[in-house]
Symmetry: C2
Subunit: 223 residues, 2 copies
DNA sequence: ATCTTTATGTAACATTTGTTACATAATTGA
DNA sequence: TCAATTATGTAACAAATGTTACATAAAGAT
């Protein structure tokens, strides 16, 4: 598909047609690149001087502590702008590693050009602000989630978010291994607590397929 | 002191003189209010329609989970703009409760006027973006900190951040009770681990006064 | 189809943290 | 100054999680 049509689907170009995008972009600089699985887009600490827009494929953002353990922060799928929140500020550097999950095509716009677009295009400006604000909301929810103390609470919160009020059947969108990284806990610990919830008759778990038996008790856990 | 002189010290008015600020503000709407200790500035979930600038006093932002336990996110002292990151986005609502610590004077500017200022004043626009980006950096550091698993690691990280490489003496800027909320752990647990660090000969602790005896071992803990 | 790799399931044991309750010290306010 | 409130120190016990090691199952590669 045409690159600009894909770009037009990204929130940051909301209200800007696929035809207008190349016009807007050509008022400044930009580069297009392809990346392969496990390529490194950015490392934590590196200065962030470009707005990155992922056109196809998917990325992941993760924090790595000194001991080498990772906390997955986010999975990012195209089309979407990232790094909008890292461009400015006292310390305009990446706080996370950004790696490629699935082969990706990426547009990057240097900071100066971003500033020009912000000044010259009101729609882009509002989209940019929305993009940053959405990211802040994501981060605060992440903090809220990490502040849940027990694994039991985290699972309950996670399952309730995943399942609509009517459907009691959930397929986890990530592997248990992956999920344990997202939770910031050890995989066997996560698995043990799933077993306990099953023993308690609250859920039925078979690998990634989970049946919610007693939603009310799940709700009580997070209350 | 003159309100506008105080405001001129806030980062969001960087490069804008105390004389220019009332001119800028009067191009839109704004309100000035005084608040007293423990007054509520905003509750989590409430829509955020104003940029809030604290002129004097101090606030705190905290998350409250269903069981009533709080995780302190941030202490905020004047002069500073807050809520810049909550104004826009799909869900422009406060993710935290904002309460008054010390009697405060607060300027609030409605979202529409903020948008006007952003369009008409490039300096304000860049300051605003910097303000949001700084907040994002703060949030990601908060996530990073919360992802440290043991209390021992959290203390080590916290003390190393506080103390310069030369000074080995630190006075905690918050009470232990307060700090335990910031860490997201119980106060007796925090205290116990401080004792353990003392037994291990790594620190000397007397209430909020902490002497770092063996910085290298402290560094090893976070590695 | 077979090999390789990754994901999942499990168990015993160690470690860490929470919980509760109470004592003492420091600070605040009247 | 004295009372009331808040902060700090401590201990015993319960609960939750991490650690390690290994078995089995599923998915991917050749």
């Amino acid at each position: 598909m045409n690159i600009f049509k894909r770009l037009a689907e990204a929130n940051i170009f909301n209200g800007i047609s696929a035809d207008e995008i190349p016009v807007l972009l050509s008022q400044g600089n930009y580069t297009l690149k392809r990346y392969q699985k496990n390529d490194i887009i950015a490392l934590a600490g590196q200065p962030c001087n470009h707005l990155i827009i992922i056109i196809s494929g998917s990325l992941r953002a993760e924090m790595v502590d000194f001991s080498g353990k990772t906390l997955k922060v986010e999975d990012i799928t195209a089309p979407r702008a990232i790094a909008s929140g890292f461009l400015f500020g006292k310390n305009n550097s990446f706080p996370v590693n950004v790696l490629v999950n699935e082969d990706a095509q990426i547009l990057s716009i240097p900071k100066d050009s971003v500033l020009d677009h912000l000044k010259s295009n009101e729609i882009f400006q509002v989209n940019f602000l929305n993009n940053i604000s959405n990211f802040i909301h994501f981060l605060t929810e992440r903090i809220y989630f990490l502040s849940f103390k027990t694994i039991r609470e985290k699972i309950a919160q996670y399952l309730l978010n995943l399942s609509s009020s009517e459907k009691s059947f959930v397929v986890l969108p990530k592997s248990l291994t992956n999920l344990s990284e997202y939770f910031g806990v050890e995989r066997p610990s996560l698995h043990r607590v799933l077993n306990e919830l099953e023993k308690d008759g609250i859920i039925l778990a078979d690998r990634r397929k989970i049946q919610i038996i007693d939603r009310n008790r799940l709700i009580k856990i997070v209350e």
